[in-house]
């Protein structure tokens, strides 16, 4: 099957699903109060994007996501690199990190709220906290993925540490780094959403939770579609970059 055929089939499936989403509720096969027809949801989506309240919420959420990301990624990368470089530290902390990973980080949300209230800082702090561990683990994996052989070859030609860093480590790690960014963003976005839905007065997550509580389902679905679209758009962009950069990878 060629790429075009695959894409065509997927689009076809999508069209099928969306059509069913529209037709079935409209004809009362499915309760339209529970599942508003897709057409209505789209109309509502356009409408809410025009509302100032929604636009503000989008900006707030975007700001939280970006700031948390900018904090968590460099910090996590630095820690991850240290753990990878210093074997002893790695042996100590890696098993701990694995446990931490399987713990629901949302249980610490109340702590953040108790300490920082429910404002911008708390959400950013929590999101950064929940993203941090993924970044650490991915950064560690990225550094460890650089083949020792390649480093040895560079050293045997007298490369300085800086040269080894830029000419061996960075190109070698680039695909994984991009993947790290992608996965970290997923966790980051999730963290912001959880914080906004849990206890917040601003942000898209809060709006969605509100719409849900008030059974305003068309708006709720519109919000979900909006968020999903943004998340997928970002994800695919980074994936495309990953693809471009990793042609040499076996």
């Amino acid at each position: 099957m060629t790429r075009f055929q695959l894409i065509a089939i997927r689009l076809l499936l999508l069209a099928l699903v969306l059509t069913a989403w529209d037709v079935l509720p409209r004809n009362n096969v499915i309760n339209p109060l529970l599942l508003p027809p897709f057409g209505d949801v789209l109309k509502v989506l356009v409408e809410i994007l025009g509302r100032a309240q929604v636009q503000e919420a989008i900006l707030v959420t975007a700001a939280e996501v970006i700031v948390a990301f900018v904090i968590a990624v460099p910090l996590g990368a630095a820690i991850g690199v240290l753990i990878a470089e210093y074997d002893y530290a790695g042996q100590i902390f890696k098993p701990l990190l694995f446990y931490v990973f399987s713990v629901p980080k949302s249980i610490f949300l109340p702590m953040f709220i108790l300490i920082m209230g429910i404002g911008f800082q708390q959400k950013v702090a929590y999101a950064a906290f929940s993203t941090l561990f993924v970044v650490i683990m991915s950064a560690t994996a990225a550094v460890e993925s650089v083949k020792a052989d390649h480093v040895l070859v560079a050293r045997s030609y007298g490369a300085t540490r800086m040269q080894i860093l830029t000419r061996v480590y960075v190109p070698s790690m680039m695909p994984i780094l991009l993947e790290t960014l992608r996965i970290s963003m997923i966790f980051n976005f999730t963290g912001v959403m959880i914080a906004e839905m849990y206890a917040s007065r601003t942000g898209i997550g809060h709006l969605i939770a509100n719409w849900g509580e008030n059974f305003q389902l068309p708006q709720l679905f519109a919000g979900v579609i909006l968020l999903a679209a943004v998340a997928i758009a970002f994800n695919e962009t980074v994936r495309y970059l990953e693809h471009r950069v990793s042609a040499w990878r076996t």
Binding site: V103, I107, A231
Partner: protein
């Protein structure tokens, strides 16, 4: 001085953390509101153990069913999508794109549909755990050595025999990793759902006591959740280790870590 073994250092760190947890609040370095002392938290747990255990029971009930959904469907879908080339090429990129969406935003939809009782939590956590299990199973299925099937065919194995005597035993390590992953994520999903909108469960306790600023009770609930997920993780790893005997040691380590860190979509060439 010789360096102490890493596991010793780990235990020391944990002990130190516990000591700080006790001392810092007591001495006022950290306000009791932010972090009640360890002894207070434990005291509260013991005093109100009835309440905690009954809510824990609700949570466990939800986790069990959610795990059935997430792991059952996840492994099945993962095996099908990973194993059948057409499905894999068609659907796997779609699923790994969907994985990028924070599933938590679907929760209000589930509460609108199913109410705030256990059903919405079970379905939500089921969906929450489904994607990573499916993606990791799909990736893992492809690591099964095709030569094994060739050898079996050369010995005259029929198709049912190939499935039962080769494919299934060879898939067990992958399936176990998927179960461990799915289990951890369904616990997370249930807890998050209970914290957001609920009238029962350990997560609900966290929220209830937070809103009345009762820190010791909040932390009591947090401790219970921590114990739950650590217990599950330890149990799952123990089971994995016992069946590990046949996996090539080097490869299994990588699989475990990969599945934990990031669910690698099958676009990574294998």
């Amino acid at each position: 001085m010789r360096r102490p073994a890493p596991s010793t250092v780990r235990w020391l760190i944990l002990v130190a953390l516990l000591v700080f947890w006790e001392l810092f609040p007591r001495t006022g370095i950290i306000p009791e509101l932010f972090l009640p002392s360890l002894s207070k938290t434990i005291a509260v747990l013991i005093k109100d153990w009835r309440e905690y255990t009954s809510e824990l029971a609700v949570t466990l009930y939800e986790v069990a069913f959610a795990m059935l959904i997430a792991c059952g469907f996840g492994i099945l879908a993962g095996a099908l999508v990973g194993g059948i080339a057409l499905l894999r090429n068609l659907l796997l990129p779609v699923f790994s794109s969907l994985y990028a969406v924070p599933i938590v935003i679907l929760y209000p939809i589930f509460t609108a549909w199913f109410g705030i009782g256990s059903e919405s939590k079970i379905i939500f956590a089921g969906v929450y755990g489904f994607f990573p299990v499916m993606l990791s199973t799909a990736a893992g299925i492809r690591t099964i050595d095709p030569q094994l099937l060739l050898a079996a065919r050369s010995m005259g194995a029929t198709l049912p025999q190939q499935i039962t005597r080769v494919i299934i035993p060879a898939s067990i390590p992958t399936v176990l990793t998927g179960l461990r992953l799915g289990g951890a994520l369904t616990i997370i999903g249930v807890v998050v759902a209970e914290m957001l909108t609920s009238a029962a469960g350990i997560g609900y306790l966290v929220t209830r006591y937070r809103t009345i600023l009762d820190s010791p009770h909040v932390f009591g609930a947090i401790v219970m959740i921590l114990l739950l997920s650590i217990a599950f993780d330890t149990l799952a790893r123990a089971i994995e280790r016992r069946t590990m005997v046949w996996q090539i040691a080097g490869r299994r380590q990588k699989e475990g870590e990969q599945a934990d860190i990031a669910v690698k979509p099958a676009t990574a060439v294998v």
